[in-house]
Amino acid sequence: MRKLLFAVIASTFSFSAMAGGHADWFKEAGAPYKGTVLQGVAENTPPGQFAGEVLAKEFEELTGIKVQLENTSWDQMYDKAIKDMEANSGIYDFVYIEQDIVYDYLNRDFLVNITEGLANNPDLQAPGVSLDDFTTFIDYFKDGSGDVFGVPMEAFIKVYLYRKDLFERADAKAAFRAQYGYGLSPATSFDQYRDNAEFFTGFCAEQGMECWGTTVQGHTGHPASTYEFLESIAPSFGLYNWGVNMDSYQSCVENGGQLNGGRAKAALNFWTQLLPFAPPEALQSTWSEVGSSFAAGRAAQGWVYGENAAWIATDAERSAVVGNVGVMLPPTAPGVMTQAASGNGYIGYYDGGAYGIPHSSKNKEATMLWLQFVALNEHQADWAIAGGRITHKGTYSDPKVIAVDEQADGYFTLMRDTGFLYAGAPPFPFHGAGRGAIDPFIYSALAGEMTPEEALDGACAALDQVMADLGYQN
């Protein structure tokens, strides 16, 4: 279906339409690089597929520059990109930079300064491309002086999805009120979330339905579970920046951190206690499986990445719950929303990524053309529909996006209006090393081998050790 959708989009819009009124400029600017093959590597997400299957073809037709985009798994993408940049081998002309890894890449000087590159090559500056058109998400890909090192190609928030059809059932409402003494509704508090999860697990079983009360992105051998905890559950309990004291780079309470503090322990207890109400595949689920489980109708509610929210709500070929998806902000602990609104906290993860050019690229000029092509306003609405992502301010008001927004219960509107409550990952250059230290403890807590308290005590000690080893603690 996705391929069909992409094919339809590709055939519906000729390249001149796709490139707006700038087709001639791209033709001319691309002429010196005709025949060049640009290699890219990115995570295999719906927006990445659109770039590879639609935009790359349009770009090649216009310029004669071929774009070979290797959309692969998250782990493989990092493995390939980082090895290439470390070895300076120049295999890839552009790489996907996830928001959380950008500090690592900038710290290691992997990336070309795009602002500087375009300023030094005025002939390569495409008309119709303005950095001012982007949402504030582009700020994550700027250095201290405001220069851009990555062109955002996807951005979304992690939202609370729920099954409207289940929540609106009269028999479910009556049974819930009888059991809990208050009305059934999508969760706005953690107690309510837990009650909903418990209730629907029992209700579905009674009705003979293959569904459970909640999703849990709880893979016990994949970082996805650590991410769900650190970037969604913990912030909604008021634990920010992984509980790391940003001045001293300590995470244990006894050293001034928060990772094994009360909020963190409450968050991990809440999350692990949801497991009995999650589909059996929860402990082997990453973000992809959570999206698939929800789309298959196997969960009544859950934290789901926005990149999946749009297709779950609208693509009947892939989703069994089209027309029945509700979208809301996730529940938060008292005070968290106020902190987020004032910029002193956040309620979850503003996720996404950009395409950047490694210093090792052998085709930097041609790649700059490609990145500007990707950034054209004309592509953004179709890309948003195909991938549930929005990187340009103007995309929200596009009629096509508004139509999909209605089908998706206002997901795009929610993202526009409440995106400021979310935040990207903390600016840790040691992101991967730090997360890798925490992973086994989260896995053990999910598997029941450790209590949440033991796990967080161990996790903060391991994280502190890594930060000490790397020289961040004075």
Binding site: R108, T220, E281, P429, G432, G448
Partner: protein
Amino acid sequence: MLSKNKTGWLLLSPTIIILVLVGLVPFFYVLYVGFFKWNPLAVDPSMQFEGFGFNYRRLIFDQVFLESIWRSIKFAFVTLFFELTLGFLLALSLLSSFPLKSFFRGVHTLPLVIAPIVVGSIFKLFTVQGLGPLPHILKDYFGYTLNYGLNADQAFWMIVIMDIWHWTPFVTLTLLAGLSALPQDPYESAKIDGANNFQIFFYITIPMMIPVLIVVIFIRLMDSLKIVDEIWMLTGGGPGYATRFTGIHIWKEVFEKRFYGLGSAMSILYLYITIVICWILYSVMASRGKDED
């Protein structure tokens, strides 16, 4: 003579150059890096020499690393035992004729041609909770809950079963080749002397098969000790540390956490342990072979 030698060295030189480039140079580089404190994510990303024993001293007290070695050794010997036993039985059965023997041999060999990462995927699809058929069958017909995302023992044994499924055909085929090549005279003499099948197997077949067994054991032992792909796909090393074998542990330290110096030291230490294990095993088996002679 000298000219003959020159020609020989000339012909061998491409092989020698390739071996040096892809074998010795990386090995000595890893050995060299293992003496440094080096992580490009650090405040000081340069290589810092802190004494030859810096990383190795740390590893001696690294509980997670030591446990991963113990786990890997346990895995290697458990799988070796089952693969050898099953492989020998299958090889013996394939010596005799039975209906559909060729078909069975073909099907039995299929796992060998599948890439390890694909084997991991197959097992994942087959066994994943909620979606794979095996947990359903075990639950519905035997009341047994299979959830290796939760249960550490199940995760370990699932990987053992996967490895047995993947590699027993290799053992079977190699032993079958060895069995087929055994001389028949000792068997005929033994039968004339009144030996039973049990005695023939333990006193004639096994001793004569020792050279083949040594080869099989070495190959399988070394392969098992460096297993990564299948585990990566099936459990990712979890739950917790349950299936974090040394190969996975080194990968995570080097490529996730970027501890290049420490990871290199781990690799060298693990190589040393592997060589020691193989050497001990070889000594035992070789002396056993001599005794039998």
